[in-house]
């Protein structure tokens, strides 16, 4: 990362640490959800932003991870922190398996196929034969995890720090991946798949792996989300969720890791703001804000920041020159 980006990230992390101690339980809960959505969007970013494969169906992976966590906690009394790796592994497998037929689909067709699967997800979850496992239409309720006894935190605060730790860990993982040779291969495939293949990159392998990793990230986010919300139900994971993730991706900035968090904040808070302005026109106001942001920042918040910093740098450079 460049120096300004590193500085901003450091400041953000430092600012995030004392937050739950300063605000109400509900706001802490909301901040936790911002991180959850940010992580989910990061997963989508890995696939769409860094690898160029359009997915309009990541809500399905989120839901899968959420249900995995809920079923493990509720049915088999697995401790909540153990559900994360399981959810991640499960989603990785499903994502990888989905990535294989996805190789045949280009651009808009892949988007539609993923959209179709995401839209079908609630129906699959409601499917009667699976009810003993999934709880059917009513879903599953899970208990909020207790904080460790030796920490003077309440449950919401503990959940916040737990989520923050997972988020930082996984962001670091993503940053490492992007910087590595594998990351460069993944991005090369996005920029020019034919050239990448001509250079000897095994595009099929990398594309399916990226699908898997992307699903893993979003699945872990789903598990965290289920733990935070303490509830999963089929209608929580409709195509609207997939659309929200996509909106968050674009607004935050495609191909930007910190942008994913900005996107998460956007899709959590802005609909509430719109609702507060006018309940009847909430959708219209949300849409209008979305349009405004897209017009002003077509490359998302991260792209805007990049351009602004570049302009500042040029201005400084010009001043120094003269």
């Amino acid at each position: 990362m460049t120096f300004p980006a590193r500085a901003v990230t450091a400041v953000a992390v430092v600012a995030a640490l004392p937050a739950p101690l300063l605000v109400s339980s509900f706001v802490t809960f909301q901040l936790t959800l911002v991180m959850v959505y940010g992580l989910a969007i990061l997963g989508l970013n890995l696939l769409t932003g860094f690898n160029g494969q359009f997915s309009l169906g990541h809500g399905a992976f989120y839901g899968l991870g959420a249900y995995a966590a809920a079923v493990l906690i509720d049915r088999w009394e697995v401790p909540y922190f153990c559900t994360l790796p399981v959810a991640g592994a499960l989603c990785f497998a499903v994502g990888f398996l989905f990535g294989m037929p996805a190789l045949r689909l280009q651009g808009i067709y892949l988007a539609l196929a993923t959209f179709a699967l995401a839209a079908a997800m609630p129906q699959i979850l409601k499917f009667s034969p699976l009810e003993p496992l999934t709880g059917g239409v009513q879903g599953i309720v899970i208990a909020k995890p207790d904080p460790p006894l030796w920490l003077p935190l309440d449950a919401d605060q503990w959940l916040y720090y737990f989520t923050l730790a997972v988020l930082l860990l996984m962001c670091a993982g993503a940053a490492n991946l992007v910087r590595s040779r594998t990351g460069r291969a993944i991005m090369a495939i996005r920029d020019d798949p034919i050239a990448a293949a001509a250079m000897g990159i095994n595009t099929a392998l990398y594309k399916t792996l990226t699908f898997g990793v992307s699903a893993l990230y979003t699945g872990v986010a789903g598990a965290l989300g289920a733990i935070a919300v303490q509830f999963v139900a089929p209608d929580s994971f409709t195509f609207l969720l997939s659309i929200s993730l996509l909106v968050g991706l674009v607004i935050g900035g495609v191909g930007s890791i910190p942008g994913s968090l900005v996107g998460g904040a956007f899709v959590l808070f802005v609909p509430n703001v719109a609702e507060a302005v006018s309940t009847g026109l909430a959708g219209a106001i949300y849409g209008a804000i979305m349009l405004l942001v897209i017009f002003v920042m077509p490359t998302g918040a991260a792209g805007f920041a990049r351009i602004a910093l570049a302009r500042l740098a040029t201005a400084r450079h010009n001043r120094v020159k003269s």
Binding site: Y109, Y286, F295
Partner: protein, 292 residues
């Protein structure tokens, strides 16, 4: 047997609507290379406009014409105001713009006309056609209007200079400019025509599914299914795909047990996926061959 024929005909009738939606979607796709996720909402608003005109005491055909004209102008306006500035933005940004448009139209419609179900009249009546119970007059009307519109559009695009200019602008915008075609206005025209086609679709389906702000969501999904099945590069294929989806939906609903309304939609969607696995560019779509 009679049930089968009845279901096929009913399927063709609803398929006619899906075909119109698929056509509108493909028209915009060919003009700007993006899928219009708000096409259904645009059609829904057009239908509400027609309903409103009828509420103000005007006869059906006045309302029908007004809705089409206003939808055409609305489509042109949306392209000029909303999507022209986004022309050079990344594809995903345009997608978000469509999502925003969807939300705005849906919310506005609910705000202005509320979410209660309303009835919408049909000019064709609802008696059985020819006295048989195989197909109703409205259903026959849907098929008839769809076929007529397709014929008109085909003649327009193949037989007129403006149609040729629009095809050229979609196929190769840069070369089109070099021969003096105002590509921006061609795009706006494409949008206007797609909006008008959507309006017709909305006004034809409303008597069947009843008029309310969320009425077009399922229809749009089926329209997408039809467009993808037929191939996004082929308007004719998209239309055939729409009809096919309608027939399949009806047959599945009638002959396979435990399939309710929502599961029908799931099956339609899974159909899209299945087709794409076998033929990634749709049944009639052109395989995009890239020269290295």
């Amino acid at each position: 047997m009679e049930l089968f024929v009845h279901q096929v005909l009913a399927g063709l009738a609803t398929g006619a609507i899906y075909a119109l939606m698929a056509l509108a979607v493909v028209m915009i796709y060919q003009a700007i290379g993006h899928l219009n996720f708000a096409q259904g909402e645009m059609a829904m608003v057009s239908t509400f406009i027609a309903w409103q005109v009828i509420q103000w005491g005007q006869p059906y055909w006045v309302a029908f014409t007004a809705a089409i004209v206003l939808s055409f102008l609305g489509g042109v306006a949306i392209e000029r105001v909303l999507f022209r500035p986004l022309h050079n933005a990344p594809a995903l940004s345009s997608l978000v713009a469509f999502i925003a448009l969807f939300g705005i139209l849906n919310s506005l419609a609910g705000f202005i006309w509320d979410f209660d179900i309303k009835t919408f009249p049909t000019p064709f009546g609802s008696k059985p056609l020819f006295g048989e119970s195989l197909i109703g007059t409205h259903q026959a009307g849907m098929i008839g209007v769809t076929v007529a519109m397709l014929a008109l559009l085909y003649l327009f695009f193949r037989g007129t200079r403006l149609g040729l200019a629009m095809r050229a602008a979609a196929a190769n915008p840069e070369s089109a400019r070099l021969v003096g075609i105002r590509v921006g206005w061609m795009r706006a025209l494409g949008w206007g025509m797609a909006a008008a086609v959507g309006a017709v679709a909305g006004m034809l389906i409303a008597p069947v599914v009843f008029l309310e702000p969320n009425m077009m969501l399922g229809v749009l999904m089926y329209g997408f299914a039809g467009a993808v099945l037929g191939g996004l590069t082929s308007p004719g294929g998209a239309v055939l795909g729409g009809f096919a989806v309608g027939v399949i939906e009806n047959l599945v609903g009638a002959f396979i047990p435990y399939v309710g309304r929502e599961l029908k939609l799931t099956i339609a969607l899974l159909l899209i996926v299945a087709v794409l696995m076998v033929r990634p560019s749709g049944v009639f779509g052109r395989q995009i061959v890239t020269r290295v």
